[in-house]
Amino acid sequence: MTLPDNMTRRALLVKLGILFNACVAALLAVPILRYLLSSAVAGQKSAYEKWMSLGPLTQFPEGETRLATFTNPDVKPWDGKTAESVCWVRRIDADHVQVFAINCAHLGCPVRWFPQSGLFLCPCHGGAYYEDGSRASGPPERGLFEYPYKIQDGSLFIQGGELPTPGSPVASLYTIEKKLPCA
């Protein structure tokens, strides 16, 4: 008795071999994909929720807007200077501040504060914001990103562990409402 070619024992073994390899590949794909996507999935909350110190509140005189430097929450030894970030701190009165991300809400270029005209100006495409961060003119579709802050023992802390971008839900979280945790 002869069997068709695709029903012989050898053909079955070839199919078994392919199936076996597919199973092993699927098994290996799990750790590989988890490794590859880890930066996008893991730690999303933790980086955002950490409080970072901007130093004592006394460095920010009332009525002025000043640049502040902070160290990112998750720093690697090889990050070099990129371990640090900057933000604009506007001290409104004794208990109230606004902390703006340095990144323009248009495409992320660093905005500069001009106290004389009370404007933040972006050097890239000319976005302009008023002193309270609201949009004044130019291509940005919204005001500056704001970091949540708290004042503890005379020091200022912010949650700013993530690059704010126009489409990020974290960015919109930044401006849901003017939360005043210290009030």
């Binding site: 990050d79 500069r112 001009f114 495409h125 690059l163």
Partner: protein, 495 residues
């Protein structure tokens, strides 16, 4: 000589490739395709080979960490023998690569090479173009300087606008929540392993299809491509009027490839390497990042589009453009090949070239960017201060101090974001000027909160003097009438 041929025979007895290579080299091509128009593909291949070599040479020294990359580039530029020249070759090679690939693409488009049966060759070519651009962008990131650092931020801002997936794409791109060491490491992997690997594989496929399907025949007006007859006609053409690729055609490829390399070597020696610009230090914000040459048009586009159009244009534009390129051979797979009979094709190329050229040239001087130091760096020209009252001169001071100059030029110095104000008094009355200054509008911020009444009065008094001597300032006719009729009336009750 005999020894060489003996060694050759010894090897070929084992690898047995000489026959296949000879056959490939001597494959017949239509006589007219042995043309100077057909050298750009091989030109791109030559420059690509050069990029691989110089890339490996740079990798011998380059340190792909955020902390040290910039220092290793300085070291290449200044302390390693001819390190600057290898950097220059690789950087200029990248520009050459994009340029030659684009020229090649325009040529095969105008010669109808994407039509049946070479659809897949064209599609693979489209992906090769995208990868070339991907190499150009990721290469700019590896030159980890200020421009690169903020450039990644711009890339992240654009990617973040993708609906739903945006934030995940950003994190995947950055390798974490911010731009840091992990970001550079993954761009290094992309630039050195992933994209080049794909490029080499697809270049192989692209070339294989050129050999299997034959080089595109010279387009003759009236010689129509039909799926039913094309292959037979092409075979007949090659049999009747074909020449062996080696030596009939290849000498032009060789000369052009050599010329390209010589040009690249000269340009690199003359102009030197690109940057690096300032240190990638996020705390230094006195920077205005600019993209490399081949992305300048995008920089211009993002400045000139109305804000509400931007996200749709960024997300839908590329899908339409790439989709059109991929579908092109299926939409127009048959018919006339000659550009002489395809006016729409020629116009399309002309339009795209003019648009890209205009945007690129505009981006060269970026009129939309404020000049951030004009208020302190560019004094009001003397002619605008002569014969002015004290109030008007005070207004000129306000004009400088409130950074008006950053967006408005006087005497051709200052920002071009807003209109030049050399003769603003001719087009705006006093009341209009006050309103514009206080309320803003038309893409100008409102200054109401930041100008005292005295400052506004002085500023507008100065602005009112900005008109040519031969032209009187604009005035409100109704106000003039009102003051004429009211003047006697108010005078009478008080004799």
């Amino acid at each position: 000589m005999r020894l060489i041929s003996q060694i050759g025979e010894w090897f070929d007895a084992r690898v047995q490739l000489a026959g296949a290579i000879r056959e490939t080299a001597e494959h017949r091509v239509p006589r007219q395709t042995a043309s100077w128009f057909y050298v750009f593909g091989s030109g791109a291949l030559v420059v690509f080979g050069m990029q691989v070599v110089t890339g490996i040479l740079l990798a011998l020294v380059y340190v792909p960490t955020a902390g040290e990359a910039w220092n290793s580039l300085q070291s290449l530029n200044h302390s390693i023998t001819l390190g600057w020249y290898i950097r220059a070759l690789h950087g200029w090679g990248s520009n050459f690569m994009v340029a030659v690939v684009l020229i090649h693409m325009v040529q095969v488009f105008l010669f109808g090479a994407y039509k049946f049966p070479r659809e897949l060759t064209w599609i693979v070519g489209v992906f090769l173009l995208l990868m070339t651009l991907g190499m150009a962008f990721s290469g700019q990131v590896l030159r980890f300087d200020q421009d690169a650092f903020w450039g990644i931020g711009i890339g992240a801002s654009i990617s973040s606008r993708v609906p739903v997936l945006g934030p995940w794409i950003v994190r995947l791109l950055l390798g974490g929540p911010i731009i840091a060491g992990a970001t550079l490491s993954r761009f290094f992997a992309l630039h050195v392993f992933v994209i080049p690997g794909l490029l080499i594989a697809l270049v192989g496929l692209h070339l294989l299809m050129v050999l299997k399907l034959g080089i595109n025949d010279w387009p003759m007006p009236g010689r129509i491509v039909r799926k039913s007859t094309y292959v037979r006609e092409y075979t007949e053409l090659v049999e009747k009027d074909g020449v062996p690729f080696v030596p009939a055609a290849i000498w032009k490829d060789l000369l052009f490839g050599g010329f390209l390399l010589l040009l690249l070597a000269s340009v690199a020696a003359y102009y030197g390497p690109f940057g690096p610009s300032g240190r990638p230090d996020p705390t230094i914000i006195q920077t205005a990042p600019r993209p490399d040459y081949f992305f300048l048009w995008l920089y211009a586009l993002l400045s000139l589009l109305p804000p509400q159009m931007e996200t749709p244009a960024l997300l839908i534009g590329p899908v339409i453009a790439i989709g059109f390129l991929l579908l092109l051979p299926f939409l127009f797979g048959e018919g006339e090949k000659s550009w002489r009979r395809r006016p729409v094709a020629v116009l399309t190329i002309a339009l795209v070239a003019v648009v890209l050229g205009t945007f690129t040239s505009l981006a060269g001087h970026a009129p939309w960017s404020p000049v951030m130091d004009a208020w302190s760096g560019a004094p009001v020209p003397q002619k605008f201060l002569e014969k002015r009252t004290a109030l008007e001169r005070q207004g000129a001071l306000v004009f400088q101090l409130k950074q008006c100059r950053n967006c408005h030029s006087l005497g051709d110095a200052g920002g071009k974001r807003g209109p030049a104000l050399d003769s603003v008094a001719v087009v705006q009355t006093k009341d209009q000027l006050i309103r514009q200054v206080i309320q803003g509008g038309g893409n100008m911020p409102a200054y109401g909160k930041n100008l005292s009444p005295a400052e506004t009065t002085a500023l507008v008094a100065f602005l009112e003097t900005l008109h040519p001597a031969s032209q009187s300032p604009a005035r409100d006719a109704s106000r003039a009438l009102a003051s004429e009729t009211s003047a006697p009336a108010s005078a009478e009750p008080h004799p």
